[in-house]
Structures are given as C-alpha cells and as structure tokens.
Symmetry: C2
Subunit: 409 residues, 2 copies
Amino acid sequence: MTYGQINPPSRLLMGPGPSTADPRVLRAMAAAMIGQYDPAMTTYMTETSELYREVFRTTNEQTFLIDGTSRAGIESALVSLLEPGDRVLVPVFGRFGHLLVEIAERCGADVHTIEAEWGQVFAPEQIEAAIIDVRPKLLAIVQGDTATTMCQPLADLGEICRRHDVLFYCDTTASLGGNEFEQDAWGLDVTTTGLQKCLGGPSGSAPITISDRAAAVINGRKHIEAGLRPSEAESDDDPEVGARIASNYFDLAMVMDYWGPKRLNHHTEATSMLYAARECARLLVGEGMPAAVERHRLHGAAMLAGVQGLGMSVFGDLAHKMNNVVGVYIPEGIDGDGARAAMLDDFGIEIGTSFGPLQGKVWRIGTMGYNARKDAVLLTLAALEQVLRAGGAQVTAGGGVGAAQEVYA
Amino acid sequence: MTYGQINPPSRLLMGPGPSTADPRVLRAMAAAMIGQYDPAMTTYMTETSELYREVFRTTNEQTFLIDGTSRAGIESALVSLLEPGDRVLVPVFGRFGHLLVEIAERCGADVHTIEAEWGQVFAPEQIEAAIIDVRPKLLAIVQGDTATTMCQPLADLGEICRRHDVLFYCDTTASLGGNEFEQDAWGLDVTTTGLQKCLGGPSGSAPITISDRAAAVINGRKHIEAGLRPSEAESDDDPEVGARIASNYFDLAMVMDYWGPKRLNHHTEATSMLYAARECARLLVGEGMPAAVERHRLHGAAMLAGVQGLGMSVFGDLAHKMNNVVGVYIPEGIDGDGARAAMLDDFGIEIGTSFGPLQGKVWRIGTMGYNARKDAVLLTLAALEQVLRAGGAQVTAGGGVGAAQEVYA
C-alpha cells in the first residue's frame, strides 16, 4: 500500500459549511510546534482569548478554545452546566436544535422543547411563555441553523433569562462572524462556535466564552481529588459540592484552570488548531466585526438576488434568513443530486443538499468566511446557470450574475 | 489591540512531548479544505483508516480518528465501553494511569486499581491475580507513561484477558511508533493514541482502533432515537439495549457509522487534522513500523549513553524504559528550572520537568517522532554540557556527545 501526499482537488466550497478556509489561516497552521508551557505558547493562548473576546463582543475573562469540532464546544457547555435532573428548555427550529436536545439528554437533563416550523423562528414572547411554564435552569438555543437557513433573534432573550433567573446558552457555530452577535449586550452566559463557517478556518477548534455567573456555576462543580470528594448525598444543595461533571475532557472547570493564570495541566493544547483559531480571529478583528457582518450581508444579498434572478424560489422566512446561507428550491425537472455532482465535477464548486423535511427539495448555498467574496458569488451563479440549463430548466441567460451585479452596483 | 501573525521562536522540543512536528506533516495541514462528503474527502478517510491499521498492526475494520487530543481518544473509548456500575481494573504505574482512573470514574464505573512504584512496571501475574480478584469487564492500562518513562509489557495480557473474558484497552499516546506494539498479535481490543509524541505530528487528533468484539459491545449501546428507546429498567441484560452512551461527541457507535460505509453525519471532520494524521501514518508506514521502532531505540540509546556520559544518573528500571524518553536526576547543586530555562532561552532546546514525586528531582528528555535524529540528540547533549558546566556541575568535556557517538559508531 502506497499513498501519495495530501493533494486535494481545487474546490470552491459554497455549501452550508465547511467553507473554504482562508489561505492565511492554513499557512498559520504550518508553523512549527512549541512546548505547552513555552512562554511563546502561553502568550499565544492569552492573545487568542483576547481576540475571541472581540469576536464574541464580550469582556468575559473565560474565553478560550475547546480542542474539538464545534459539537465538542456544545457538549462542553452543556455537560458542565447541566447536572442530572436539571431542567433545560430548547426551542427547536431546525436540525441543530435537535442536537442540543440530544446532547442535553445524555447529560441526564430534564429536557423540554418548543418547536417552530422549519423556515421560521421564535418570537421572544413564545420563549418567555415556555420559560414561565418549564422554569428551566438553562435556555439552550441555536442562533443560526444551516438546516433551515434561519437566524433566531436573540437580542431580547438575555433580559428574559435574567428576569426568570435562567442561564442562557447559544450555539453560534453557523452564524458567528457573519451575523450580528453581542455576547454582553444581549445578556448571554455561554456561547460556543466553530471555525469552519464564517470564521474562515478548518473544523477542529471550538471557541467558547463564559460569563462570570456561568463560570461560578461550573466552578461549583469543580472536581475535588479522590478521597476528598463529598458523597453524592451531599451534592444537591450546596453549589460548592455540585454533581461532578461527567466528562474529564469537557470539564470546563478544569479547562478554565488550564487557560487561566494557574495553567494547570489538562490536555495538551492542539497547537496547530490554536494557531488556526488565533489567525481566524486576528483577521476578523482586523477587519472589524461590524465590517465582517456587513460583508456577509452584502454577498449573501447578492447570492439571494442571483438565485432569484435564475428563476429559483427561496426557502423560509427571508426576514430571518442568515446572511451566509440561502435555501433554494430545486427547480422542477432537475435532478438535485445530479446537478450538485455536475457543479462539483465540472466546475469544482460544492453546493449543499438538505436534511430531514427539505431533503431532495432544497439546495443550500453558502457565502461565508473566505468565500463571502464577489468572485465566489459570481462564479457560483455562472456555473449554476450552465448546470440548470443543461438539466433542461428555463433560465434567463445571465439572469443570475446580472441580478447579483445589481446588488453590487 | 493588534497582534502579528503566528511566528513561533525556533525550538527543538526534546521534552516528553509534544515533540517537534515533521515539516511534511505541517505542510500537509496547509492543504485546502474539501467538503465532508466530497469523494476526495471520503477517500482520504478510508486511506487514513487503512494506514492506521498498519500503524497499530491490526486488521480491525474499526480504525479511525477521534477529533480531539489524545485524552479525547481515551475518553471516547472508556465512555463507550463502560456502563455505569461496570467494573474496570486499572494498573497504575504513573500519572496517566491515574488519568484512566479519573475518566473511568466519571463514566460511573466501579474502578479498581493496583499500583506499582514509579519507575517500575507490572508482571503479567500481578495483573492476572488482580483480574481474578476484581473480575472486571475491562482492563485499562497505559503502555508508556512519560511521567515515569516506563513501558509496560503487554504481550501476555491479551491472552490473560481472553481467558477471563475481559476487554483490553490500552492508551499508547506516548509510546506508539517508538516502541513495539502489536494490536492483534497481543490480543488488544481497543487502543488509542495521539500524534504529538512518536508519530511526529501536532496534538489534536486521536487515532483509535477497535476489535470486532469491542465494536459489538459498543454497538449494543447504540442510541435509538427518542421515543424508541427502551426504558432504563430493561437495559441491564440485553446487549441490544445497553445503557445509552453518556456522550454524543464520544459515542463511538455514532463515530463508527460516520467513518463506515453508512457515512452517517456526526461531527464535521477536522479536515486539517485529518490531513496531519494521514501524513503522520503515511510517513511511518513508508519507513516501516519495525524500522521506526528501531530508530527510536537507537536514538534513545544514544541519549541514554549521552546523559550518563555527562555523569548524570538515570531514573527507573532501565529494562523497561521507553525508547523515546529518559528521566535523569538533576545533578546536585543545579537549579533544575533555571537550567531548563537556559536550555530554552540560550539554545532553543526544550527539555521537560516532572510531575508528582519526581518534581524538582528529575528532568525528562525525549527523542521522539521527528526528533528521533542524531543531530537532535547531539545538539541537546552539547547544549546540556554547557548549561551544566555553567551551573557549576563537574562534567567531562565532550563526555555526553562522545558517549552518544559511540552508540552511533
């Protein structure tokens, strides 16, 4: 068995993510290893925390990376916050709400859901009514669900959570950097994300930020070494003796001590992924978060106009569409998977299929991270026009590119 | 706040790990992203499985990567194998045995230990006696513990485990690639590792291999969607309704379905880390596993002779020392941390401190992965001679390099 070196085909990733990583991020990952406690390494860790405070728009001391994919960030938050039996409310408006439910269930939590139809979001009043009904310890919600392209408004939820003494967790994997997000101004407690969507990096590192009150809850469950642990019988009332976190790897109390001034050894930080995460944030912060969001808005609007200019109908409530992805109905008579294969094989462009109720009906086209760019949008529309025409659809020549150009003009 | 691009100082990492990554591995990580279900990506996944079968010396179908550091691999194995209340036996001969205990406890397992003095390993009879006593479901043991530099012999343990119907898990993070290891010939069930030691890569991906019988145990706990799950009361006897795995991210039943022919969506594979892991294995398999082990033996022997040639005493039972790391007593009168700082600041070479009972008494010097090389060994010895002399120790001029050269001659 002999295999050649890594040599992937040229791809423009215009699906719901992962997106094409910024070449500067990939180059950062090629930097040499340094030791875990090398002053250069701990400085990079400190800088990474500082940069992600700007990305999340927060002053939270506890802002760092989980070494795993975005799903690892979600699980670290939920397993560290939720003790067995704790009530959690998950408003579900797409696939990734179901993921929060699934993970919270495995934490042994008492999970309550409300559901919105795919393509819709929740009004704050609906969520407040459910909070009053369920009286959860935690509200866990996704900001942007690529499965439906919807972006849940969050601005009013923090105040509602404070009013009812509920912790507020949000998964921003698909949305952060491409849609407005304000950790502190909106009153969030814990937020996690990933690099592979609007942050322009590869999957494999999950930035997280934790408010002081959430950190206190987590530290109240801090593991005390064997022999010094309270018995389980004592563990329900006193926050100092909360139930031991069921994971070592995702024990945020330990990870906070690793990233904090104590620098207590936990895992061996994934150095190359830290380099990548730092570079993603450095580029975004250099651009300015509002400018990055505006860039995603512009190119998302151009893509939306473009697919409509090609005569395609768009899925979901456009008033709440994420900037960075659009769902389009596969035109009548077009073989959805065949057309996607032609996009990939003939033009090197990946667009996405869909899950669940939208499978076989809707494509998802992304404009995110490094690919929130005019040339990426216009190339995708030009190729899509060719593929749709070859598939027998009626398409106006230049209708997609022209409509996008009007947005740019 | 403005930070520059990643630009780490030049470092030769000669501690217990992470080691300096092979530049070819770092370059592989700079390759562009491709989509999760791109045929090129699934081909890379299949090739990575095939390559790690050769690294682990196994025909196990279930051989793949966990997206996280080596500790993530350990936790995925233990949480997927151990149901709450299951008995596990952990023979502890260093820090990382304690980590297995800690993780197994969090799985809710009934954890039993036997302990060896630091610097020693277990005889097979000791382990068999404990198995007879404890009657565990699982034996969990570390092969090489960098905390003590010891390498536990494993060759006889598989047969013992089979005889007593015990599953056999091993953590080879620190040892694989640099010390003989035979997954199938030695009868192991589940083995995990990391890239950052003898495999010559960065931390952040954890290769794992799983025997068919262990895979059956794990699949017996496969999550059935909400509403179809059996009640907990039914879950004790029938392997088809084993207790739900407490983690989504580390649910090996799901990860097997993601890497297997079903390709069921789970996490978004950490593409760059997969590139790195594949390249690590590709280079090792190209060299040949026996040749890689022999390389580590040679350079480890040269380093051992070298530190002895500098007049230093060596820690632990040399008959069971790992090839890739040596513990040396800090000479009388030498400030251990000051000397390490001089090695780092003046010569750009990192050597390691120690944990627990060895802290402040022993340095740990590694020769692993890309740094299992003659020039790395000789440079380290030359610099160490200078630092020891400057610290006031009596050292024979050229005694370290000379002794190492004799090993090479």
